[in-house]
């Protein structure tokens, strides 16, 4: 069985590698071989010969195949290859958030996420093949998402909150078990740091400046001149890297105590018990980098998209509407695949098609929205169609990013009815 994995893996890698060669014949042969192997793998998964790890390989393989003709064509390859690293950034973030108990289902979750992210990267690729203006919704969405995460991190504090960590991991405010409330109370502790939030705001401001530059400067020659500002992006990113807060203070305990008192009162327990609640760690507090990971991933992702836009403007890469539409269509197909795999996961784990939760409604809503935008932009030579074709891939990626952030602010993964710890 392991050898089967190996064969599939090698064929997928081979598929990617063969695209580097210019020989179309070789690329075609590799494509057919991958296709046959993937059908075999799918049957194996259905028959129970392969477990859900096979599903992952299947997805990765299909992705490889989907990217295939795009990458194989020389004229488009140079652009599409640049879209691939963008796929890796959100994947790296997602890979860290699969804390489910059942190890087998985790693989199915990974497959579903991989399909969705692959689909999104293709939609992003579709945006990349068009004018850089259509891409601009994405960095704006990542900034909005980071803001959302910061403001919803704590239910007790207003403003942009940063998670705190001590030597033993995240800091909690805890009320031990008391009579009448045996489960106690546990709250994640957050605080803010004005100068660090200032640096984030500076970075956001710089990104927004670039976005407005691309959107408002209509003259191509002027835009190209102005695009040199994009070279400042790495400096702005390294600012965040260099100036991370090394020490953060505990927040004011009063709101936490008030909340605890309220929680006790609603359970008809004497609120005096709230006096025994305390922060579990008090010394050596820093920024919780694990907790901030989604924020950093989002910031890096937005910056990457902007860097790519800048590069595209400076190199004066052409607009490719048909190739863009094709990639868009594939992307939508993969978003549907992601939805199917998510539902398979729910069905195999729970025995039902999910929990009828808003997260599931929104997931399917986004998939149907993607399909509808694809169809609206299908006739890209008509007046309305061309508008949709130019703008909708970028706006679509932005919508997915935003809803993923909303899901995360509810401690969940988009599409999955699980609440993370």
């Amino acid at each position: 069985m392991k050898s089967l994995y190996f064969v599939i893996l090698v064929s997928i890698l081979g598929g990617f590698v063969s695209t580097v060669f210019r020989s179309e014949k070789l690329a075609k042969g590799a494509g057919i071989a991958i296709w046959i192997l993937l059908v075999a793998a799918f049957i194996a998964v259905q028959q129970g010969i392969l477990d859900s790890a096979g599903a992952v390989l299947l997805t990765v393989g299909l992705t490889a195949m989907a990217a295939f003709p795009i990458v194989a064509h020389e004229a488009v390859r140079k652009q599409a290859v640049w879209a691939l690293p963008m796929l890796l950034v959100p994947l790296a973030g997602l890979g860290t958030i699969t804390p489910l108990v059942d190890r087998n289902s985790v693989m199915l979750v990974v497959a579903a996420l991989a399909a969705t992210v692959a689909g999104l990267s293709m939609v992003l690729g579709a945006a990349v093949l068009r004018s850089p203006r259509g891409l601009m919704a994405v960095p704006v969405a990542t900034l909005a998402a980071v803001t959302l995460l910061g403001f919803t991190r704590s239910p007790l504090a207003t403003g942009f909150q940063l998670p705190l960590a001590g030597p033993d991991g995240p800091v909690y405010w805890e009320l031990a078990s008391v009579e009448g409330m045996p489960e106690g109370l546990r709250l994640l502790t957050t605080n803010t740091s004005e100068w660090f939030v200032g640096i984030l705001a500076f970075f956001a401001g710089f990104e927004l400046l670039l976005v407005f530059l691309v959107l408002l400067v209509r003259d191509e020659a002027k835009l190209k001149k102005a695009a040199h500002v994009f070279k400042g992006l790495p400096v702005a990113i390294s600012l965040i890297g260099l100036f991370r807060p090394d020490s953060l203070a505990l927040p004011d305990a009063q709101p936490y105590r008030d909340f605890t008192r309220l929680a006790l009162q609603t359970r008809q327990v004497d609120p005096i018990m709230a006096e025994s609640a305390r922060f579990l760690q008090t010394d050596g507090l820093t920024l919780d980098r694990v907790g901030m990971r989604p924020d950093f991933v989002l910031l890096a992702f937005g910056a990457l998209v902007l860097m790519f836009a800048g590069w595209k403007i400076l190199k004066e890469l052409p607009d490719a509407p048909l190739a863009s539409r094709d990639l868009f269509a594939r992307g939508v197909a993969f978003l549907w695949l992601g939805w199917f795999l998510t539902m398979f996961f729910q069905a195999s784990l729970m025995g039902s098609l999910g929990l009828h939760a808003p997260g599931e409604w929104i997931h399917l809503g986004l998939v149907i929205l993607s399909t509808s935008l694809l169809l609206l932009s299908w006739r890209h030579s008509t007046r309305i169609g061309s508008r949709f074709a130019a703008w909708s891939p970028g706006i679509l990626v932005a919508a997915w990013v935003l809803f993923a952030a909303v899901a995360w602010s509810y401690r969940s993964i988009l599409g999955f009815s699980v609440t993370l710890g």
């Binding site: 045996p182 048909l322 197909a333 539902m343 729970m350 025995g351 999910g354 997260g359 399917l364 969940s412």
Partner: protein, 365 residues
């Protein structure tokens, strides 16, 4: 020029067909359907801060039906669209020149792929939407030993209690193996024990039970008890459980579990039996001097009790959904397998179709 009545109506139908069977029309229908799905649940956002909205059951039958009918309409128009394409391909001679791209006979594969994908996706989405109109599945957190006879489910207007056909209790939980033992019992009858594995839902009496996850919840604690008697067997019990520490000794019920009594006395458990009444057990020294616990009962320690998360649902079949998934996957494979571009002449002049074609940067309308 005179036109007969049937001719006029056929022209009207022709016009309507051309107006309706357009990608943009289908796109518009889908756009409305997607907005229903995206905006609908926002109605249910609770006013207070809570993390449960996103994953808690939500039900809006009307909206699910509206989205389903829009989707079904879009599906029907989609068939028309593919029919148009078929007409176009039919008129193309196999040796027609089409600037190097493939045309004619070999081009049916991606189109069939799209047809299958649409069929699978629309079918599955419709199944999902109709599933939204029934009582939702619910994840119930059950500490070992707790018995329930109903579970809360979302019902459009609020939570309602859905009675289970039998009382449900988690007898044991093996975290390493991911197996729970369920005990299903009717009042006055001995229970039936049913092992439940992660990823293997079980159908019993029309209900489907699934072990969705295991939490080692530090907030749920259980006591480990023993006694000073010679033949003592140490026993563990959570809140509400009964236990014995000697074979023929009395049965105690745990009525309260507290981690730190008054924040100074440490772990404490209140137990009750028929012969002794209620009394407190302390892990550390007893606060009341010369207090002898009945039968020398001791609280050895408190430990975290595992909690099983059991997914409870009406056992609705998911096979049809799986079939839709297979149709979709087949379609996806066909869609990706070949490039496709067709040129042809239609009544309206030159027409072109392009599906899954990324080989050319040239413009095709």
């Amino acid at each position: 020029m005179k036109t007969s009545k049937s001719n006029t109506s056929s022209i009207l139908i022709d016009r309507a067909w051309r107006l309706l069977v357009q990608p943009a029309t289908i796109g518009l229908l889908l756009l409305v359907a997607s907005l229903i799905l995206l905006v609908g649940p926002m109605n249910a956002i609770p006013s207070s801060v809570t993390y449960s909205w996103w994953t808690a059951g939500y039900q809006a039958e009307g909206m699910a039906r509206a989205a389903a009918s829009l989707l079904a309409m879009a599906g029907v128009l989609g068939i028309g669209l593919l029919f148009n394409r078929w007409n176009l391909v039919k008129g193309v001679p196999s040796d027609a020149p089409s600037d190097g791209a493939k045309s004619g006979k070999s081009t049916w594969i991606p189109a069939i792929g799209v047809a299958l994908m649409s069929l699978g996706a629309v079918g599955a989405a419709l199944l999902w939407m109709f599933a939204q109109t029934s009582i939702s599945a619910t994840n119930v957190s059950l500490p070992v030993g707790r018995t329930i006879e109903a579970y809360p489910a979302e019902s459009g207007t609020g939570f309602m209690r859905v009675m289970l056909p039998s009382r449900l209790k988690v007898r044991s939980l093996d975290i390493e193996a991911g197996v729970a033992e369920l005990e299903l019992s009717k009042v006055g009858e001995a229970g039936v024990v049913q092992p439940l594995e992660v990823g293997r839902p079980v159908d019993i009496e029309g209900m489907r039970y699934a072990l969705v996850g295991i939490e080692y919840d530090p907030r749920v604690v259980r006591g480990v008890f023993s006694s000073r008697d010679a033949d003592t067997i140490s026993a563990t019990a959570s809140l509400g459980d009964t236990f014995k520490v000697t074979v023929d000794g009395p049965e105690y019920k745990v009525t309260q579990v507290i981690r730190d009594y008054l924040n100074i006395l440490g772990p404490a458990v209140e137990v009750e039996s028929e012969t002794t009444g209620r009394f407190w057990l302390f892990q550390r020294a007893t606060p009341i001097k010369n207090f002898e616990t009945p039968n020398g009962l001791r609280l050895d320690t408190l430990e975290s009790a595992p909690v099983a998360i059991i997914g409870v649902s009406r056992g609705e079949p998911t096979e049809l959904f799986g079939a839709a998934g297979i149709v979709f996957l087949l379609g996806l494979g066909l869609f990706l397998a070949k490039r496709d571009r067709v040129f042809g002449k239609t009544k309206d002049g030159e027409g072109a179709w392009s599906l899954n074609e990324a080989h050319s940067l040239e413009e095709v309308s």
